[in-house]
């Protein structure tokens, strides 16, 4: 595989984490404009762990993901009782506060003769873990996809359990869910924690693959794109948001067929697509059809 293809694949993989993060909250009926904040927290924390504290990668990624999850929990305490535009704006406000905080955040130390660490607006450069440990681009790409596959598998399993159905029911009608004895607040809290941790994991990977992260990397554009991917790809399955990322980055950005007009094409395409399929390509109906077809084929095979 050539380098360009690997880079594109890695990008698709990393953005998928944020898309999945927004998707988890969408399932619970909450629209967040702020999942990029947890992506940023994960990126900075994991980067600091490998560069400044010389941690191994696995520990750093885990710590970054946990830190992002913890931040999401704290924000959740203040915002989860809000709904609709109130929740969306509160999460956006938090994400913008974090982005500006990153612009002001300076933590420089001398590491092995080189001054490194986050440097305000200039961002956090030289996160060279993969380079220093001689990982090839293919290997790093495989790490991204192994983690993405793990997250996807967990999400798919949860969606088939009682907890997953509770989450969807809350998304459909929180009042009805409450009447059925579901503790809406705690399920939403767990969803928010999970969404934060997933975005944080993606951020940690991003920082190490890109070797740098700057406050601009997690502005509002990333958050709203992540939200859009779920709606384009479909809200019926966790593969939906990934399909959305594939369509945008894989098809439009990387092939460069619409160079200079990509957004004009993509914007129009998405608007028209949503008119035809307001819950995305792989919406609940499509997913249950596919499941039924698969089951029929399996039964016929037996």
């Amino acid at each position: 595989m050539d380098g360009y293809l690997i880079t594109i694949l890695s990008n698709i993989g990393m953005v998928s984490f944020v898309a999945l993060s927004a998707y988890i909250l969408l399932l619970s009926g909450q629209i967040s404009f702020g999942q990029q904040a947890y992506f940023g927290i994960g990126a900075y924390v994991a980067g600091i762990a490998t560069v400044m504290w010389q941690w191994p990668l696995a520990g750093a990624l885990l710590f970054g993901s946990l830190a992002a999850g913890a931040a999401a929990g704290l924000v959740g305490l203040a915002t989860l009782r809000l709904s609709g535009i109130y929740f969306a704006m509160a999460t956006l406000a938090f994400a913008e506060i974090m982005r500006i905080a990153a612009e002001l955040f300076v933590y420089r130390r001398d590491i092995g003769g080189i001054e490194s660490g986050p440097d305000g607006v200039d961002g956090f450069r030289d996160i060279r873990y993969f380079f220093a440990n001689e990982f090839s681009p293919l290997e790093t790409c495989l790490i991204v996809y192994a983690l993405l596959a793990t997250v996807l598998a967990i999400l798919c399993i949860i969606e088939r359990t009682r907890a997953g159905r509770m989450l969807r029911q809350i998304g459909e009608d929180p009042l009805l869910a409450e009447v059925h004895g579901i503790n809406v607040m705690s399920v939403r809290m767990i969803a928010a924690l999970a969404a934060g941790a997933v975005a944080g994991l993606g951020g940690g990977l991003y920082a190490h693959l890109m070797t740098y992260v700057e406050p601009k990397s997690f502005d509002i554009m990333l958050g709203v794109h992540a939200l859009a991917y779920g709606l384009i790809g479909g809200l019926g399955t966790a593969f939906g948001p990934i399909l959305g990322v594939l369509i945008d980055i894989g098809l439009l950005e990387s092939t460069r067929i619409f160079h200079g007009y990509r957004m004009i094409v993509f914007g129009g395409l998405v608007a028209v697509l949503l008119i035809v399929r307001p819950r995305g390509l792989l919406d609940e109906v499509a997913v249950s059809r596919i499941r039924r077809a698969l089951r029929r084929r399996r039964d016929a095979g037996d």
Partner: protein, 301 residues
């Protein structure tokens, strides 16, 4: 001297805040009738302002012609957004509307960049009169025009909503769309016209802002969306008075924060205030009386 600084900051903040208030009035009208967020509101304004700027650069159009181009341009692009993002969706697909409007945001912004590729473009200034001196305070004449225009438009919109037949129809659609339809109001037409009206108000705001700065940058779309949204949320949703209060508060707050803490912290203070308000006092400036109603509206987003 500190007292003079405080007074000067407050004055500057009120002037800038009046443009935020105009943006928030347009936003709140759209949100009121649609109950959906129009993320393409800022880019709609950008499209109008860019068309006006292009006319200024290419033909040296006089300022009143530019004003007309900006307002009509914004209204037409607003109609396009309404047709593609709001008209086709029913009650069930509010998120889809919002994401579709985001998609058009990207589209309109790229189209505008093809029209004027440079990051910064000149715009004809509103007035070239020297600043007025009131005691130790300085007041720019064009800022005064902006404040006057805001109050005038806010008054006109309030009068229009309260006293005209069409305004009554708008309020009916805001309160109870189904009941409005039952008594014979053409709800979709009211929604469309309100949308176009709000986009035109936004265009006017964009014109005033560009003329006061005597320049337009590519950031104006994003800027208008975020400032308008924050001002609207600060004031509480769905009220013209709240939009004005929110806009002026945001302006004054930013002016003081910029003076005492610098431009980066300025933005942080505005977002921080919004976060705290939403977390602890979600009704906005209009207080808890409006809360129940606006929460009910918010739930339908």
């Amino acid at each position: 001297m500190a007292a003079v600084d405080l007074a000067q900051n407050t004055l500057d903040g009120l002037m800038i805040g009046s443009s935020y208030a105009l943006l928030a009035i347009g936003f709140t009208l759209i949100f009121g009738v649609m109950r959906r967020l129009n993320l393409a509101y800022g880019p709609t304004i950008m499209a109008g302002v860019y068309l006006g700027t292009a006319a200024f650069i290419s033909f040296g159009a006089p300022i009143l012609v530019i004003l007309a181009i900006v307002v009509i341009g914004a209204a037409v692009v607003g109609l396009y957004v309404e047709r593609l993002c709001f008209r086709p969706f029913g009650e069930a697909a509010r998120t889809a509307s919002m994401v579709a409007s985001f998609a058009l945001w990207m589209q309109i912004e790229e189209a505008a960049m093809h029209l004027l590729p440079r990051h910064m473009n000149p715009f004809p200034p509103l007035l070239s009169a020297p600043p007025l001196q009131i005691g130790p305070l300085l007041l720019r004449a064009d800022h005064l025009v902006m404040l006057a225009a805001t109050l005038l438009i806010a008054g006109a919109v309030t009068y229009f909503l309260a006293r005209t037949r069409f305004g009554l129809a708008i309020r009916a659609v805001i309160d109870q769309p189904r009941a409005a339809a039952i008594v014979g109001i053409h709800v979709q037409r009211v929604m469309m016209l309100t949308f176009v009206l709000a986009s035109a108000v936004g265009g006017l705001a964009g014109f005033l802002i560009a003329a006061t700065d005597a320049q337009v940058t590519a950031m104006i779309g994003m800027w208008a969306t975020t400032k308008g949204l924050v001002a609207m949320m600060l004031g509480g949703l769905g009220s013209v008075k709240g939009a004005i209060a929110g806009g002026l508060l945001l302006g004054v707050l930013e002016a003081h924060a910029q003076w005492f803490l610098g431009p980066q912290v300025r933005d942080m203070v505005a977002w921080g205030l919004l976060f705290v308000l939403l977390a602890f006092w979600p009704g906005g400036l209009m207080g808890s009386k409006a809360l129940d109603r606006t929460m009910a509206v918010g739930r339908r987003v």
